[in-house]
Symmetry: C2
Amino acid sequence: MGQDRTTTKRHPIGVFDSGVGGLTVVRALRAALPGEDIIYLGDTARVPYGSKSPRTVERYSLTCQQFLLDRGVKLVLIACNTASANALPALTASSPVPVIGAVEPGAMSALAATRNGHLGVIGTLGTIRSNAYATAIAARDPAVKLTALACPLLVPLAEEGWTDDEIARLVAKRYLAQLFAGDKQIDTLVLGCTHYPLLKNVLADVATELAGQPVAVVDSASAMAEAAKEALGSGANRRTGAGRLDCFATDTSRLDELAPRFLGEALTGFELVDL
Amino acid sequence: MGQDRTTTKRHPIGVFDSGVGGLTVVRALRAALPGEDIIYLGDTARVPYGSKSPRTVERYSLTCQQFLLDRGVKLVLIACNTASANALPALTASSPVPVIGAVEPGAMSALAATRNGHLGVIGTLGTIRSNAYATAIAARDPAVKLTALACPLLVPLAEEGWTDDEIARLVAKRYLAQLFAGDKQIDTLVLGCTHYPLLKNVLADVATELAGQPVAVVDSASAMAEAAKEALGSGANRRTGAGRLDCFATDTSRLDELAPRFLGEALTGFELVDL
């Protein structure tokens, strides 16, 4: 039955995130697969996942995925790095359709970008504690050196919209100085959280300054969209027109303000659901 | 039956909060009523409440209060300002024992402290949007001028432990400059969130600097403890020894690190509960 649903072109792709940050993945997905219908769920009532324990993150992630499966999605994308890092095995085991997490594609992007094999990854506490990036990278290239750091203040900073000013620069500097203290040769920085692309300019500037050489900054969004294209194969909808985007959230506070920043376009609104 | 339970001295006092910040209230409560047993619940799986809609905050608060009522508490203290501001009527209506919120005591402290009747209040988005402080203050003294501002970054800043440095100072300055732009004569600042006492030094310094005169900084914790003492009356437990403190949380991540900062003493641990 999994196979049947996967190859049903009409069915939508499901994307979930702990909040609105995952709309950066929707943006990349719409660019890569414009004909696809997408159902997005932001668990905004229980956001953030990043500071919570693996057990809680897994429990919440399973209810999010079930919501999407109940709506007949042919593929699930876990936009949230924390959920991907802590709940991918449970989500995969309980889904009849393919499930794509954020960590593996982010790790592949980083390996493609590095010139000297010295990577840095920043993310939430939950993502960094899970060691998911380290595991994914070691499985592909054990010679690569990865230095990881949790940066709890970056999500609220991005949500406050203070993304390119003195405070953002000081916060980025305090965190990244710790990262580069671990490995001065880092030439590629992985943004292991869907909120961080909003701070990309500041993070890239500060990283380059600290490294004394250009630092490549990569995130999971485009790589996840490519992975989705590959997973669908002939099951992809080849319409060239724009597919539908239906957005759901578990709490609607601040959505109108925050969502367009991540999606990069206007939204017709979120439907409120209880999970 | 409410009365019976209130006057049952052996029964504990219940305190709940969206997270660990409410331990500042427990601290004040233990100082004011040392003989009382206390049950504390931090809804750390669903924290923060401050950025969420009134409907979600009310729904979560009711499950927290029910947890305490099921354990036979004789009094409920809502340590969380956001929950107090948005859910006090619903909580009072569904409790057989007295319920004390954070807003009313905080407002009384501010009115007692001000010399010129110009107050400022800072809190979460949910607390400020509710207008609960404005309503409480206007009901007691309509001549008092209140200027309010939401400061979303202060909670993560306090949790990160960056409470007395350059970044804390710049963040405080950016927010408080907006507050004082609304009313240059503010002489009393209400910390309308249980996390903010950790930033009290920086906030007081910056406020005094911006005002060009000493600014009093008040919070709800002591006033809530006084209100509890009054509500219990002869139902208070007059033992002089230290009462029990039992702590529950819906997620245990970071508790060992964060809780002692707010309680001001070591903790024997939290018991994990699902709500």
